[in-house]
Subunit: 761 residues, 2 copies
């Protein structure tokens, strides 16, 4: 066979296996005429995109073999699961990983039977499929994932098939400009293959229906050299030769526009309606195969059109000509170690975070910007791990006070650089683009191929990637249960410029609700930390950077806050996850009258201030101050591995004393975590209640009743007997609020006494 | 003055007013030398984008006057609040709306003082600013909002300034293709003005640093005729003349690329570092004006460079030449009725939804696809409101079974149409694009300009627009408190293809957590409905389509479910929001032994089946079945206007009997709503616990323990005394689960008895 005949044979085999997966539960080689009982009762799967994906697999394999090319394949139309599975089986990888699905007739029967079948495998390119870092359940992230995989992988080509449906999404549309963040010297290459099959579920696609000259200009506008290919082996092969020569030569990166019919090679017409080349082939082109003898006959004719007898021997094994087209070992895209990143993962070289600690001689006597301290640590993490760690964020690295990193590195930038620019370079390790989607997508691709990173973001706008977080968490939830998938580095978020310090940008920038989204995912993959000062932030960050297979969310402010813990105290406190702040409490050795709990830096400061006021005015009242760093500790151990036993919880929070909990986020989250606790009826939570505008920091706390004065009022209202006896103090607190507000409105800033914390001690 | 001199005077005035807002709290006209006490203590605001925004305002006003053009201005860089405020004040609108901020020196002083000042107005283009439908707090949605405003507004030009930072976001990148969904015959025109000032917060922008030929090709690739303009009045004016001629002529829509320095006309250099034309002018170019006499002098010099004495008379009123450049009445962009859509809003003409009801002779004896019934209603809503209602969704209208709408209309499509296409037309009322961002952004723009709509979406992927929902809800929360902002139509979501019926697409498509995001917003703007059958869906939809200023979330299935309520019963049930399903209960007139509560169609069916099993096997057990349609009813009235009193709640749920609540979403949401209720300790919630894959519908319920058998086990485990006495029944339920699972795994579908509901009665 000549090279195109071999490619065609591989393609036909992959198509045959794809159709078989969608339809058959028996008779895989069509050894006998197809009968209704060979057909699955429920037909689930997506045929439309599959032959195009198979076409690319077949042609790219030829390039890999001829050029000994290291290549990874990102399947944007990830619902084309049958293609990726067929490919892995043809390459032998599938049988190596799942020996029950052997490369023979019995294995082919299992391959078909298990697809979209209860107890089998999902219909999409899920984590169960070898060779994939990208499920594509939710569309839009293929190209960003591809770039994430290419960064710091010189020599690697990431072929990324982009469906023309997916191309309509925002994240994908933004991803084209990722090429301005790729360093030709240090990174691999991304080869986008825009697959125009013309239709989504029920509609034509935009890019398939604009004039071709507009489409070419669009791709040139994105900085690419576009090559148009039709549904033809010769065209695809010769174009790939040109494209890989262009890649080798450097310069403007090439991309391919592949036009094929949707559902190519499938039934042309069904029940009098055109199917191949229309949206009707999106899912299952023949739907009544079990019930309708005509459909059954069409299916058999369709499958036999691939001439399976030429493709598989009598035992169901791919014939030698096909097996010979397959690359060897790890060159097989289905066996790429990049697609099982845990295999390549090396622990970060981490400096001792204690070396970056703030010296704290006495708690609450000096202030530090926590993220600034973290910046110094990250600077040295970057230096120590020059090819395996990246810091990402939407243009907020300096705004979030992490700018020490620029002592060690630059911002990644592969476009024009002016003389007045600072810290821009193609090889920079800090990636800033005004797209949370790109930051998230790049980082996911980077992590899933075995590297490390941290995404810093304004807290409110991290909601932009809620859906991407969901998809990544689901990927982790699934991959943790797959033995051959090795653990990858955790996805670390640093949420700064948080709700309490967006007094400058106002209401639109105030939303601490990402934590609520995170908590919906399985406890085994999510962690939330709210370190109240610099040293606890360092301790938490060190822990997160060492962890695997989690999503870690750290909320920490960039504004100066009091240093509360020495570094050793911070380590103890963070290891426990929560604890009594002894110096701020006066209940030593006894049961307190009230517990003031807090999580988050600003709420903690207000609790400390409230405790101080109570010490001054009600010295006989026994107040216990509790700070929570690890939010998951509040849950029962049955709900989260970090959960505290009831006994431990009760020892800290009591079972019957009022607990005023001053929380960083929406109050309901604390209730959600603690409703099963004995003392829950006595728990009163303060937090963000969706009040805000452009104002002063302290006014923000007053607007939401988390301020020190209101906390004192809460104590008076809730500790039995105080309401009447301390009516005077209550009035004074009301008055203090009124005066603080009046001062703010007159002078435009908080009172000196509020800005200055020296009075606390 | 010639026309350019007048434009320049207007521009200088707007710039002067912008700087004044950022810096001054007194001495607005610089009647005396600037002193430290005239300066605000906290300098908040964004100067960088402001002069460019003012430049566009000035030039567009000239076009409006000369052509009597109806125009709306969407400020993409919405943090440039000073510009929009200055413009509204110069046009007189601001003083009309806020008489205290008069068009004189005293008013100017208040104008300056209030900006970013506690008790004053936010720093961004918030809802407080007349003429705006777009805050731009979170970037990315300007162009989608502009298109939403242009739809069904023939004659209107929506000028949309897009910052080059915003242009990096995914949603904005996708929005360029909106022109394929605009009907030249029935819609207005969007004029994108891409404002390249070169920098974001701390970085250059991508589009400012790619070669100009790439940029032009990109815009041509998007289907536009691009025009490049530099920082020059003559160029801008002559280009606008050309552009508006092109708009009048039709054809390829023009767009403008405006290149100006960032912080144009501001301080060129501060403390030895370049500021104008760099990222350093993003916010406040001079930061130590109060403390540093040099900075103070520079500020005064800067403000005087606009020659305020030529711009304002001795009373602080804009001079006649400036006032004469301003359009009249509603032609002023700051007074456009489109920007206060409630003024233009007309109630939908709604057919009687009872005419679309399913006839239900006996409950639970027949099945209907609820969304299919809704589709018929929507079809006639579209017919009755041909210019004021749109149905949007990411290519899922037919998939969600709303296809009856295509009997009345088509899909909006203004690109190539092939002979095989169906229901595509430029004037179609159904908008389908594979971008939830575009659907949401278009709809927001459409609603805020006084029209109506409904967004139908796969439930899991609505998380893609979590952040946009947050921003819109915040807009509503704020605008409801602004007397002159008139109520607009609610934003209605129909979430179908929900978590329990994504058995085909699998785990990545299963996420009911949008409800948790919604619940974080103020109770006054959010509503969540879970109608369990067709007639309740019709009743809920009718209610939502009539409502104002809310976000309504309706979760309803597209798969057949039992018809439970006659239309009159449905009306009663939905009006109450929840109620006892008498025919499924056997506790008539007495206190039940157990309450089986449910919300959502699939959980309701499983509860009905469980109740039936209990009736058969434990006829002496008094079971009460409660269905919840309006989730907000579960809260106390202090938390939500729909909230039930404790007395009413207790009458339904009891205070001490076990309540098994079978919920559509994540169980914690029910706890969050009910933790204050007397009976909460006895409440046990089942719901989605993040288990799923490609499998059968019933297997999905079993994976998450919301199935009928497990509910019976829950009852046995929780009703005192049953655990021992009914151990046999418990084992039978376990066995039923095992058998159902085994059948599914063997046959690939649920048992006939599970698929068939006739046994229920």
């Amino acid at each position: 066979m000549d090279r195109l005949a071999k490619i065609d044979a591989y393609w036909r085999a992959a198509n045959y296996l794809s159709v078989g997966q969608i339809y058959l539960m028996d008779n895989p080689l069509l050894a006998e005429p197809l009968r209704a009982e060979h057909i699955k009762p429920r037909l689930l799967g997506h045929w439309g995109t599959t032959p195009g994906l198979n076409f690319c697999f077949a042609h790219l394999n030829r390039v890999i073999v001829e050029r000994d090319q290291d290549m990874l394949y990102v399947v944007g139309p990830g619902h084309g699961g049958p293609a990726a599975v067929a490919h892995a089986w043809l390459e032998g990888t599938y049988s190596e990983i799942y020996p029950g699905v052997s490369q023979d007739a019995a294995g082919m029967r299992r391959l078909f039977h298990q697809f979209s079948f209860p107890g089998g495998i999902p219909s999409h390119v899920a984590p169960q499929v070898p060779g994939s870092i990208h499920e594509g359940g939710e569309l839009g992230y293929a190209l960003a994932h591809a770039y994430g995989a290419a960064f710091d992988n010189p020599g690697l080509v990431v072929a990324c098939v982009i469906g023309d449906g997916e191309a309509e999404t925002g994240p994908l549309a933004a991803s084209w400009h990722s090429n301005k963040f790729l360093d030709p010297a240090r990174d691999g290459v991304v080869l986008p293959i825009l697959h125009l099959n013309g239709y989504k579920i029920a509609n034509p696609t935009v890019l398939a229906r604009i004039p071709e000259d507009e489409l070419l200009k669009l791709m040139e506008g994105y900085g690419h050299r576009p090559h148009i290919v039709g549904p033809d082996h010769e065209e695809m092969a010769s174009t790939l030769d040109i494209v890989f020569d262009e890649i080798a030569d450097g310069g403007r990166p090439p991309m391919i526009i592949l036009r094929t019919p949707k559902g190519w090679t499938g039934p042309r017409e069904v029940d009098g309606l055109p199917v191949e080349g229309t949206w009707r082939s999106h899912q299952v082109p023949l739907t009544r195969v079990r019930e309708d003898a005509g459909h059954l006959a069409m299916l058999e004719e369709w499958m036999r059109s691939y001439r399976p007898e030429e493709l598989f021997d009598g035992d169901g094994r791919p014939v030698a000509e096909i097996r010979q087209t397959v690359p060897l070992g790890e060159r097989r895209m289905s066996a790429s170690p990049h697609a099982n990143g845990g295999r390549l993962l090396r622990p970060l070289v981490l400096p001792d975070f204690r070396d970056y600690a703030v010296e704290v001689k006495s708690p609450a006597t000096q202030s530090t910007e926590p993220t600034r301290a973290l910046g110094a640590l990250l600077r040295d993490v970057i230096t120590a791990n020059p090819n395996t760690f990246r810091l990402l964020g939407p243009d907020e690295t300096a705004s979030n006070r992490l700018q020490a990193v620029f002592e060690a590195t630059d911002r990644t930038w592969n476009a024009q650089i002016l003389a007045t620019d600072e810290h821009l370079a193609p090889g920079g390790r800090v990636m800033e683009v005004l797209s949370e989607h790109l930051c998230q997508g790049w980082l996911e691709g980077y992590l899933l191929t075995g590297r490390h990173g941290l995404f810093n973001c304004y807290e409110a706008f991290i909601h932009i990637i809620d859906a991407m977080f969901n998809q990544h968490a689901k990927w982790l939830e699934t991959s943790r249960r797959i033995p051959w998938r090795r653990p990858v580095a955790s996805l670390n978020y640093l949420l700064s410029s948080h709700v309490w310090r967006q007094d400058n940008n106002g209401f639109s920038h105030q939303d601490p609700g990402f934590l609520d989204v995170v908590m919906n995912k399985k406890a085994e993959v999510v962690r939330v930390y709210l370190p109240p000062d610099a040293n606890t932030l360092l301790s938490v960050a060190d822990h997160c950077l060492r962890s695997r297979d989690y999503v870690n969310v750290i909320v920490a402010g960039k504004q100066p806050v009091l240093d509360l813990f020495t570094v050793n105290e911070a380590i103890t406190h963070c290891t426990r996850g929560l604890g009594i702040v002894e110096w701020a409490s006066n209940d030593t050795g006894t049961e307190p009258d009230v517990v003031l709990a807090c999580a988050g830096d600003v709420p903690t400061l207000e609790v400390l201030a409230a405790a101080s006021i109570l010490r001054d005015h009600l010295p006989e009242l026994k107040v216990r101050v509790v700070n929570v760093v690890d939010l998951m500790r509040l849950q029962p151990p049955s709900e989260h591995p970090h959960g505290m036993t009831d006994t431990a919880y009760d020892a800290i929070f009591t079972t019957d004393k009022p607990v005023i909990f001053n929380f960083h986020g929406y109050p309901s989250l604390i209730h959600r975590l603690t409703y099963r606790r004995h003392g829950h009826a006595h728990l009163h939570v303060r937090g963000y209640k969706e009040e805000g505008t452009t104002t002063t920091p302290f006014d923000m706390t007053m607007l939401n009743d988390i301020d020190r004065y209101h906390l004192v009022i809460d104590v008076i209202d809730r500790v039995p007997g105080l309401r009447v006896k301390q009516a005077q103090l209550r009035l004074r607190m009301d008055d203090a609020r009124r005066r603080a507000r009046a001062h703010t409105r007159e002078h435009g800033e908080d009172t000196p006494e509020i800005r200055d914390w020296t009075w606390l001690h």
